[in-house]
């Protein structure tokens, strides 16, 4: 792998940047791999990377039906935080947070992780009680967090309307200073490049259309372009399409796929240097380094795979944002899109063995899995390498929906992000 550095940039300037090495190979798949990962989003690519790096398993293929990172990874609003309520979730997301903090160095790729802090606003007394409870729980878990009152919020975001005259006055917020945003594409590309350098085959434009199962165990997958590809173990990391893949393997998951929308404005000068989220009025906003306001909506209530959503959802979100930021009322919106998120009944992911031997699923991240990308890949790689759940992944088995040990994160995950 060509090492990226400031010096390299200068050197390549001399040849007009025409001689950069390709970032990854475009290999023809082998007949058989130790591990096949279905889905080349951030989570799948991170899984491949950690399989190679931490477990020495490099005979690995990532099979992606479109292009790398073109699913929810490309469509998300990139908020990264770890202030979840329950120990199980907090530990998992904080594991990811710690990896984020060294990720650009680790991958030798700038993922533009920017710890600009995240505010979760409270608009009712109950919101504030929940915030206090959550921040206390976070601190006990060693996760940074503060409870702010209205004045504290106003100091961080001076141009937000924190007056008492609004319909839903801002009573305060939780504030996680280490939280922030990262550059979504760079995360996928950085993991892809690093995985490729260990010899992982990244197979794009190839859809898995069926599973080859013998005596209750998976032995490979059928693809639309490269025929059958065999594997000792298969990990599915296909977000909104998890139900479709589970169906191929003959079981159901406790998941429903919903459209989730986001929109960005025209680029404007720097105005918002943190991330503001509100469960109560249901909207959130940050500003990208390019200058566009990045705004996220809630999910559409119906199941859908169409990668687009309904206008009332956008209208509702924009109304909430303008209530908080009247100054944005004349900013024009540039683009709007949807991704398909796999929501789980307890708003927590599934990282799990399945009824089919040697077949594992990493899914159910729903509206908020980008923040977990390195951590998810890290624990799923360990799970695939050992054939048993990584300690941090253990509580997230799909079988928790049989024994009732759900991890209710609806409070911390309330607004889609």
């Amino acid at each position: 792998m060509q090492h990226y550095s400031g010096f390299g940039l200068l050197k390549h300037a001399l040849s007009y940047h025409e001689n950069w090495q390709r970032v990854w190979r475009n290999p023809t798949p082998k007949k058989k791999y130790d591990v096949i990962i279905v889905g080349g989003g951030g989570h799948g690519l991170a899984t491949a990377y950690y399989l190679a790096k931490e477990h020495g398993i490099t005979n690995v293929a990532v099979i992606e039906k479109g292009y790398l990172g073109g699913g929810n990874t490309a469509r998300n609003t990139t908020i990264v935080r770890s202030n979840y309520l329950w120990d199980e979730a907090a530990h998992l997301y904080e594991h990811a947070m710690k990896l984020w903090e060294g990720l650009s160095q680790d991958l030798n790729y700038n993922v533009m992780f920017s710890q600009r802090g995240v505010l979760n606003l409270g608009h009712t007394l109950q919101d504030m009680r929940d915030i206090q409870r959550r921040v206390n729980a976070n601190r006990l878990n060693g996760i940074d967090g503060e409870v702010l009152d209205t004045k504290g919020v106003q100091e961080i975001v001076p141009m937000m309307d924190c007056s008492a005259n609004t319909r839903y006055p801002v009573l305060g917020a939780s504030w996680q200073p280490r939280a922030g945003v990262a550059r979504h594409d760079a995360v996928a590309w950085g993991f892809a490049r690093a995985a490729d350098s260990y010899g992982v085959d990244l197979i794009q434009q190839t859809e898995v259309v069926d599973m080859i199962i013998e005596d209750g165990a998976i032995v490979g997958v059928k693809t639309n372009r490269h025929g059958d590809i065999k594997a000792d173990r298969v990990g599915c990391v296909v977000a909104g399409n998890s139900g479709v893949l589970a169906n191929m393997a003959g079981f159901e998951l406790p998941l429903e796929s919903h459209p989730l929308q986001a929109l960005v404005s025209e680029p404007i000068k720097p105005i918002l240097d943190t991330v503001v989220m509100s469960n109560h009025v249901h909207g959130y906003v940050s500003q990208s380094d390019k200058g566009d306001l990045v705004i996220g909506a809630g999910i559409d209530g119906y199941n859908g795979y169409g990668q687009r959503g309904s206008y009332p959802t956008i209208e509702h979100t924009v109304a909430a944002i303008i209530e908080l930021f009247p100054i944005f009322s004349r900013v024009r919106m540039n683009r709007q899109w949807g991704g398909i998120v796999d929501t789980c009944p307890d708003a927590c992911p599934i990282i799990s063995a399945t009824p089919v031997e040697n077949l594992f699923f990493n899914c159910g991240w729903g509206t908020g899995g980008f923040k977990a990308t390195p951590g998810s890949g890290n624990v799923f790689a360990a799970t695939l390498a050992k054939g048993e759940a990584h300690p941090l992944a253990k509580p997230f088995s799909m079988f928790r929906f049989y024994d009732g040990s759900l991890i209710d994160e609806h409070g911390a995950a309330g607004v889609a992000h």
Partner: protein, 96 residues
């Protein structure tokens, strides 16, 4: 944007008057106490999540507040039919 026919009101109304309520035709186990954890868990949480034809419940939340069923394509979003609770769908996926 959906334009949904409510079979109770006998009218097409805009999507915002309705709420989607998930998979239709899930029968509550007759004797919950005799269910295994697996059976009860599946009843509560495990769902068909098809890419294609889906039978689902909707409620006319800001209208008559009654429930009904819809057969809808989850990719094109086209509503194929609307039918009342207790009725069977006439549009079904191949192999169903």
């Amino acid at each position: 944007m959906f334009y949904i026919y409510c079979p109770h009101c006998g009218e097409h109304r805009e999507e915002e008057e309705f709420h989607a309520k998930g998979q239709a035709h899930i029968a509550r186990p007759a004797d919950p106490d005799s269910c295994s954890d697996k059976e009860w868990g599946e009843y509560l949480y495990f769902r068909k999540n098809p890419r294609g034809l889906h039978h689902e419940m909707w409620v006319h939340a800001a209208g008559c507040r009654k429930f009904f069923n819809v057969t809808r394509d989850t990719v094109s979003y086209e509503i194929k039919e609307v039918y009342k609770i207790g009725e069977r769908p006439s549009v079904v996926a191949a192999g169903n």
